[in-house]
């Protein structure tokens, strides 16, 4: 098996599992209980909060644990929009956000908010000047992702952050695909809220965090007990949170060497693909990208067919689009970048991980050459 879908999810790091295990066995207490068992769970919870805050340049009391990236995005966007409704009804986001953000913004539109979706250039980046020009008296929230899940393109967030700071507008980022892959510091980015998810960096699924800068107005969408400063009530997932914290420590600790390794691996992969296969474009290649992601469009053939051939050869990747009755549209990210729909249909996202090897990339290369030749032989699209 060759796993090249690390932007979808990653395997749990063995050390993360070891860190979590005691909290699934003997240390099973509820962190809200006042007896000793509860106190040790509480202490692990708070130590985890402190270490996650440390990795992000935040204060411990600014970290709220959640059920994952989607939940963090929902709490941030809905929470701020609802808290500031009396001040204004305008939200700025981008066309290339994850659906956790896009669909939440669309929900706000149904509630009467006005949402501006910023365009991106052909490299997949927004222009910070566009943010500035769209800010009005009614603007209450800016939400722009840090790294795109499909292309890996990193957005110029520090500049957006400066603008948000000057204009005193709350700024959220979905950093789910960036945390653990590039250094992330909430103060360098000038963000007020930041979403992250554990399973994207070798941590457990079903646990994430939301950074909430002190004094950020937020109306929590859920009601319940007094957990997580009322922002996210519910008994804390202590083993998951301990795993999240350990995974982030490991990822930030090994970040330079993993980044270096994967940069080399991807560079070789992309150069070989471009040399050996005709009619390929790599989307977002001209922009700064996280080091693990490569988004390739193959002319004249369709992505899902490439994907199934890869699957039959034991290679796991992801296609930018899925052909089905409900959504025949190609990826909204590629469309926003101006990739023609026909080209976008033939897109595969390869997302590498720390354990991928040169030999694996060689095998994938061979497979891709065979698969593209085979599908092009069948294809009705002949031009080019």
């Amino acid at each position: 098996m060759i796993y090249l879908d690390h932007n979808a999810t990653t395997p749990l790091h063995p050390a993360v599992f070891r860190a979590m295990e005691p909290y699934m066995r003997e240390q099973f207490g509820n962190a809200s209980s006042s007896y000793r068992l509860g106190r040790s769970a509480k202490s692990a919870l708070e130590a985890s909060r402190k270490s996650i805050a440390g990795c992000l340049g935040a204060q411990p009391d600014e970290i709220v644990f959640t059920g994952g990236g989607t939940e963090s995005d929902n709490i941030a966007i809905r929470g701020v929009a609802h808290a500031l409704r009396s001040k204004g009804n305008h939200v700025i986001t981008s066309h290339i956000e994850h659906h956790a953000v896009l669909n939440t913004c669309q929900d706000l539109e149904r509630e009467g908010f006005r949402v501006t979706y910023l365009p991106v250039d052909s490299g997949g980046q927004i222009n910070p000047d566009d943010v500035r020009s769209h800010i009005g008296a009614e603007t209450i929230l800016i939400t722009v992702m840090l790294a795109n899940n499909e292309t890996g393109v990193i957005q110029p967030l520090s500049e957006v952050g400066k603008i948000a700071r000057e204009e005193q507008i709350i700024f959220h980022t979905d950093a789910v695909q960036a945390v653990g892959k590039i250094p992330v510091d909430v103060n360098e980015l000038s963000v007020d809220l930041l979403s992250l998810s554990g399973h994207k960096f070798y941590g457990p699924k079903g646990v994430g965090a939301l950074y909430v800068r002190r004094n950020t107005p937020i109306n929590p969408p859920f009601t319940g007990g007094h957990h997580e400063r009322n922002i996210r009530p519910g008994t804390e997932n202590v083993p998951g949170i301990v795993g999240l914290a350990e995974a982030l420590l490991l990822a930030t600790g090994s970040l330079p060497e993993v980044a270096q390794k994967l940069t080399g691996l991807r560079q070789r992969f992309e150069a070989t693909v471009l040399r050996k296969i005709n009619g390929v474009q790599i989307n977002g290649r001209s922009a700064p990208r996280v080091h693990n992601t490569s988004n390739m469009s193959f002319q004249s053939i369709e992505g899902e067919s490439i994907l199934l051939h890869l699957d039959l050869k034991g290679i796991y990747a992801s296609s930018g689009s899925a052909c089905s009755t409900d959504s025949p549209e190609p990826s909204h990210v590629l469309v926003a970048m101006g990739v023609p729909a026909g080209t976008a249909q033939g897109t595969i996202r390869f997302s590498l991980g720390k354990d991928n090897t040169d030999d694996q990339i060689d095998y994938v290369m061979e497979a891709l050459m065979e698969i593209t030749a085979r599908l092009r032989e069948i294809s009705s699209v002949r031009d080019k």
């Binding site: 004249s300 053939i301 369709e302 899902e304 067919s305 994907l307 199934l308 051939h309 699957d311 039959l312 034991g314 796991y316 689009s321 052909c323 089905s324 009755t325 409900d326 025949p328 190609p330 023609p340 729909a341 026909g342 249909q345 032989e377 069948i378 294809s379 009705s380 699209v381």
Partner: protein, 174 residues
Amino acid sequence: MQGGRVSGKNRGRFIMEKRTGNWQDLYRKEREEEPKLPEGPILFYNDLVIDHFTNPRNVGEISDSDGYALVGDPSCGDQMKLWIKVKKKKISEIKFRSFGCPGAIATSSMVTQLALGKTIDEAKRLTDDDVISALGGIPENKKHCSLMGINALLAAIADYEEKRGRANPREEEL
């Protein structure tokens, strides 16, 4: 996953069986079992569909075809070109090329297999359901793919009939 209706019925029956005896263990067993679908079942196609996808029948073009059709559009996700030769009112040769997902390629291939050797009248009566059942079912969200093949076949036949009508308005046989 193939044929949502059937698996839905089976599922209901399976749960009923589980409720007798140690049904908790049956749930556990199901969770731990190897997936039953073909290897690498991310797209939930059965073996026959995978076979038609990896080894599509009748791929190619006919330079002196009697009927030709182009349906679909790559920007919408699938496109098919179909060529037929007709001898004595029967489809004597059929070739296709398709751009599309595995469902589109497999159903294209099956359409050509079903139509080959059929009379024009028989071929006209083929439906997308015939294609799906000949393949042993395809995933629910892929059923629209089989329409493309049928539409291409009907359009190629229409092209043949139109050309033939123009060339030999009275001739019955070719």
